[in-house]
Every structure is written in C-alpha cells, then in structure tokens.
C-alpha cells in the first residue's frame, strides 16, 4: 500500500517530457476533457502571449519577426507553460488548470519555476566542481568546466527556455531522456554530482590505474567513468575482495564469469544487489540520493553484465587495473664549467698542438667535468679521428650522455647544426660503431633512461 496513485484519465507515461504541454493537450482532447472551444481559446491565448513576447523581443522597434524566431519563442513559451503543468501531481489537474487559468498566468508561474531550476542547476554545478574527479579524461573535464559554463552563459529563459545550447558530450550513467532546456541540465548536473560523489571514495591513482586498464588512450575516449568504477567495485565485492583499491585480477574476472554464467538475468540482478549492499558498508555510503542514483545505475549495469556474459566480454566491463611498470632512471649531472678565461687558454693551447698525443695530455690534465669536455669537443677544432681518440678517454655512461645530447641526425635535420657539431655527431657515431655489440646495446638502453639533473641547470 506504499504507492497509492490517483486513478485518472490521462496516463503520465504517455506524456512527452520534452513537449509536455502539447502532449497534454492531445491527450485531453482524446479523452474529451477539452472541447474545440477550449482549444481555440488556448490557441488565441498562446498567440497573444507570443505577440507580447515578440514585442518585448523586438523592444518595440519592429512589428514583424521572422517565422523561425517566432517559432523558437513559441516553443520557449510552450516549454515554460509545460514546466509548470508538470508540477501537478496528476495530469488531470494540469488539464483543469489549463481550463481555468489564463495561459499568460501559467506562463508566469513556469517562468518562476525556471528561475528556481536555474539556481538549483548552478548549485549542483558548484557541488560537482567541488567533488570533481581528478582525471585527465578530456571529455569529462571539457564538459564540467567549459561546457556547463557555456550553457549558463548562453541560456535565455525568456526566449529560448527549451534550448540546451551545449552538446553535453560526457555520457552520464543514467541519462536524462525526454527532457530539454534547464530541466535537462539540472538532471544532468545532478547525475554528475552523484557520480563524482561515489568516485571520490576512491584514490586518484586507483582511478587512473583502472582507466589505464580500460584503455591506455582513455584520455581521448568518451565513456562514463562512474559506471566503470561501480561495475569493477561490485565485481570486487562478488569476488570477496576489498573494493577500495579496485584491484581485481584476471583470475578473479574468470571466477566472476564462472559465478555469473549459470545465472538468469534476475539472479544476476540479485547478486549485484547483494554485492552493492556489501560495497555500501565498505565505502560507508550514507547519502540517500546517491543510494537512489546507484540503484538506478545498477539496472543498466546488471543488463550490461548479463549481455557481456552472453557475448563473453566480461573483461571489457569489469576492468583489471593496469599498474605502471617501474622504470629505472639514471640522473646525470654534467658538472660545473670552468672559468671562461681559463677555457679560452686551454682551447688556444690545444689548437696550437701539432700532435694528437699532446692534445690528449692537455685534455687529460685540464678537463675535469663532462660539460667542459663537451665544449672542448666543439671548440677545439678536432677532426673526426681526434674526436674518436678523445672519446676513448670517457666512460660508457659519459659517451651515452654525449650521444643523448648530440644524436646523429639525418642530413636534412642536421642542416641547422654548425660544422663542428656535425663533426662531433659523426665522431660519436663512429666511436659507438667501433665498440662491442654489448657496449653498443648498453649505450642504447642508457640513452633512454638518462635524466639530466635539472637542479644543476643541465
């Protein structure tokens, strides 16, 4: 006896949420609740209201208006009227109001309701921004930040109350079908807020690993993050593991498949409900509204899981997180450069030397950091053979650092390099080719993991 509904003539389900007023009139005529005279009166009242709105739209400057603009204003008027008629507990009361109250008065009530809804939507937007998921998914961020702000900027409740203006690309788990204008945005933001509320129970890194497991290119994909998290969390609970870390494994997904594959759709639903009550306890979810939202989402998730079982694609909706591989890094500092005056003297001394052995002995005695060595290789006018000889003085890691800083480029790319830089690149390449294959592969690997120490300005 909990849901006692008044028995009325018009069924709420047959009415269109987007064009509520029109559909209510159609149904009222169908059941003989409105006669021809009533319809004519309503038409004229609507037209009078349109004339009044058009006059205001033109600010009295123009007596005529384009049909497209008039149609848009009319749609806005009908939407606003419908918005107020929706407040009645039963459509029959709405029809009674249409018969007894002037359309202009109903419009005024609807207009006030739009203002209230606009305030509510702005409040939900604020809340959704406060508990926003820290993710780099482009659609999610673009919608909640730019898209919704764009809507509030463009929305005109007087002449375009039925417009949405934005595409609201980020799909929420329980979409607001059958709604438009401010009603749609309010519902959308409400969903966004509840979804964020659940997602905020999980650590930022946990969500990132899960999304990586879904697809490594998740940043550019359009999908619902909440649904993915909720499905995986429920999967964790069915497997009897903690949901907070969402760390379900492939074996556990296989186990899930075995548990659910023999069940009917209703049984799958029951299992999900039980798992959800476990999840609620673990995450200490206390919000009634969030609970209601999740319950609505579970219907869709149950259906998804049931179909995934049939198609053998459960691993696409219960996601195994992908944890980043531990990558080793070599931090390298090139050292401190010597004074300019001293460096100039050494370069002068080297260039005056006739024999390579003399040059090498000067370098050995005077150069104590790799940054000076690099400068000498570039400034001392050494030829390729001399460079190879100097490089043989260095450790493999030092050679790898120089290669990372002066990689051998194709001729077309090397066009911007100075002559000495090009000689150094070739010299480095020749030297590496002269090494053993083991040393060559060691240098190759080292190049990829060398990180220059930023604090020393290298």
């Amino acid at each position: 006896m909990e849901n006692i509904e008044r028995i009325g003539t018009i069924k709420q389900e047959v009415l269109n949420g987007e064009y509520y007023f029109k559909s209510l009139l159609r149904e009222a005529c169908k059941f003989g609740m409105l006669c021809e005279a009533d319809l004519e009166r309503i038409n004229y009242q609507c037209l009078d209201l349109l004339a009044y709105k058009t006059g205001k739209y033109n600010s009295g400057d123009s007596s005529s208006i384009r049909i497209e603009t008039a149609e848009s204003i009319m749609a806005s008027v009908l939407y606003t009227v419908g918005l107020w008629l929706k407040t009645f507990s039963h459509p029959d009361f709405g029809v009674k109001a249409i018969k007894e109250i002037n359309i202009r008065d109903i419009y005024q009530c609807g207009r006030k309701r739009i203002d209230t809804k606009l305030k509510a939507a702005k409040h939900f937007h604020l809340l959704a921004l406060r508990n926003k998921i820290d993710t780099d998914n482009y659609t999610y961020n673009a919608t909640i930040l730019d898209g919704i702000n764009g809507f509030f900027k463009l929305y005109n409740p007087d002449y375009g109350a039925q417009e949405i203006h934005i595409t609201a690309d980020y799909p929420v788990c329980v979409p607001a079908h059958d709604l438009t204008g401010i009603e749609f945005i309010q519902k959308y933001l409400e969903s966004f807020y509840y979804e964020n509320m659940l997602c905020s129970c999980f650590a930022k890194e946990t969500i990132r690993y899960l999304l990586n497991g879904y697809n490594e290119g998740y940043r550019d994909l359009v999908f619902n993050i909440f649904e993915l998290i909720l499905t995986t969390a429920i999967g964790c609970k069915i497997c009897g593991i903690e949901a907070k870390t969402l760390s379900i494994s492939k074996i556990q997904v296989e186990y899930l498949y075995q548990v659910l594959s023999k069940k009917s759709k209703d049984e799958v639903c029951k299992t999900l409900w039980l798992a959800y009550s476990e999840l609620k306890k673990e995450l200490s979810l206390s919000s009634v509204f969030l609970d209601q939202y999740i319950q609505k989402s579970l219907e869709a998730i149950a259906s998804n899981i049931y179909h995934a079982m049939k198609m053998n694609t459960l691993d696409r909706i219960v996601i195994v997180p992908l944890y980043p591989k531990i990558k080793s890094e070599i931090y390298f500092s090139l050292g401190i450069k010597m004074a300019d005056e001293l460096f100039r003297n050494i370069v002068e001394e080297i260039t005056e030397c006739r024999f390579l052995s003399d040059k090498i002995s000067i370098i050995k005695g005077s150069i104590h950091s790799l940054s000076d060595m690099e400068d000498i290789l570039l400034a001392a006018e050494l030829n390729a053979d001399e460079i190879t000889a100097v490089l043989s003085l260095l450790e493999l890691i030092e050679v790898a650092v120089l290669v990372k800083r002066h990689p051998l480029k194709a001729d077309i790319d090397a066009i911007d390099l100075s002559k000495q830089e090009r000689v150094l690149c070739y010299g480095l390449n020749n030297y590496i080719l002269s090494l053993t294959p083991d040393d060559q592969s060691w240098i190759d690997n080292a190049i990829n993991i060398i990180v220059f120490d930023k604090f020393l300005g290298n």
Partner: protein, 169 residues
C-alpha cells in the same frame, strides 16, 4: 496547426480593424490629394499578408501600412494615379528588406530611409529604391558599415583624394 497558419487566421480576423486604421489615414492624406477607398485598403492588407508569407515573417499588432502612408503622402513623386500601386510596392519592399537587413534596423528608421532615398537620389523611382539604395543599406548593415556608406568611387572622388595627397606631401 502550425504557427504560420495560426497567425494567418489571426491576421485575417483582424483585417477589419486594419482596414479601418488605413481608412483613417485618409484624414491626413486628403490634404495632398490622396485618398483610398475601402477596396484599396483591403487590397493593401492582402498585400501585407502575402508579403509576410512570401518573406517568411509574422506580424502582430497593426503593422506598418499606416506608417508608410503617413510618411510617403507628402512626396512630390506620388499622385492619385500611382498612389495605390506605389503603396503596394513599398509594402512588399519593406518586408523584403526587413529580412535583408537582418532586422538590424527598426521599422521607423527603415521607412524614413526609404522615404529619404525615394524623394532624393531615386527621384521617385521604385526600381532604383529597391535595386540600389535599399540593397546598399542592407549590405552596409550586414557588414557593419555606416548606413550611407557607398562603394561607388567616382572620378571626382579620385581627384579629391589625389589633391589631398599632394597637399599632405
């Protein structure tokens, strides 16, 4: 029933009121030797309805026919012989250029511009008014230029510019 049909029904229902309004203008135009019969007034209202429909516009209230009559009645290029024909053309022209000017000009300003051009550079030619002056106005408004801006560069203009340059140097 769509909005256009609904508005047309309303326009037809208000026809008598509009005709009365037009007939009332005779009190002013009589001084210039211009009068309209009831039949003429009905025809003018019909032209207004068909022009609105042809230009995909709807109109609420009295419309602009009386405004056009009051503005043009003192023109020296209008006499009883061409009075009604001119009014029909002006009404058609008005609604066409409301669209062409993207509604950027008010009714009163457009009528005033039409009158000024008709009595001035067009010297009573409706072809010049529609084909040149109003087209120029529409272009200027669309591109955000001054209403009277012209791209006609005459030889006199060229000479004046050269003279200015010489003085500057």
């Amino acid at each position: 029933m769509n909005l256009n049909e609904l508005v047309n029904i309303k326009l037809h229902s208000m026809q008598k009121h509009d005709v009365d309004k037009i007939m009332k203008c005779n009190e002013i135009t009589k001084a210039y030797g211009l009068t309209l019969t009831g039949e003429h007034a009905v025809e003018l209202v019909q032209t207004r309805i068909s022009s609105l429909s042809a230009n995909r516009r709807v109109e609420f209230g009295g419309g602009v026919i009386d405004k056009i009559i009051k503005e043009f009645c003192n023109s020296s290029y209008i006499c009883m012989l061409n009075y009604t024909d001119t009014l029909h053309e002006l009404i058609e022209m008005f609604y066409y250029y409301k669209n062409e000017t993207l509604d950027l000009i008010s009714d009163d300003d457009l009528i005033k511009y039409m009158k000024k051009a008709f009595n001035g550079v067009c010297k009573g030619s409706l072809e010049l008014l529609a084909g040149r002056e109003l087209a120029k106005l529409a272009r200027n408004l669309r591109y955000g230029y001054d209403q009277d801006c012209s791209d006609d560069y005459s030889e006199d203009d060229l000479e004046n510019d050269l003279e200015d340059n010489r003085r500057d140097s």
